[in-house]
Amino acid sequence: MRVLLFGRLADIAGWRERTLDPPPATLAALRARLADADAALGEALSGKGVQVAVDKEIVRGEAQLRRGCEVAFLPPMSGG
């Protein structure tokens, strides 16, 4: 499983991409594992406006994860 961090989340964590194998079974378990390793990141991931995409589709709330999937944490977006 690949975990991707974007924007300020990558700055906070000090990494942009990490592979977890075997993967956590759920998004909640992934969040808990990341927060255990880095409390500041854990807090930032549950901050206001942070969305999650699993395999490039936005998910809201809980999600099952599987080996080989890609989970991206997306802070508030701003293009243009």
């Binding site: 490039k56 991206a72 701003s78 243009g80």
Partner: protein, 152 residues
Amino acid sequence: MSVRLTTGPFEPGADLTRFCAGRTESGAVASFVGLARAEAGAATALELEAYPGFTEVEIGRMVARATERFGLHDALVIHRHGAIAPGEPIVMVATAAAHRREAFEACDYLMDYLKSRAPFWKKEHGPAGARWIEPTARDLDDVARWDGGSGP
């Protein structure tokens, strides 16, 4: 309909020419170019991060929604990512419709969306360091205009 991400500079005029060419039933082409500002020296570069494979698809969905909502004949979005110098184009949106009202509104709508909901993350570098730029209160107000039942 066309959505293009690029890490290099692009030429809005050349794209506008191609976009207008051969249209004999679209009376109206509205377009917008967003340029990186120097902020009187406070901004030396803009750095935009995209999520390739996700960003284009999300923008494409929004362009499809705009096309249906405003009855567009065609639409174009070009968006740069990577490092961008002051004065360089960041984004271009062009919309073609039979009449100007629809073309203008769709272009405005797409820009509001891009500013506050498109998957990009924007960092401004300057003499005082770097900062992440998130949508302003005005950006959020602007995009909220389209969420209600009002308008076309």
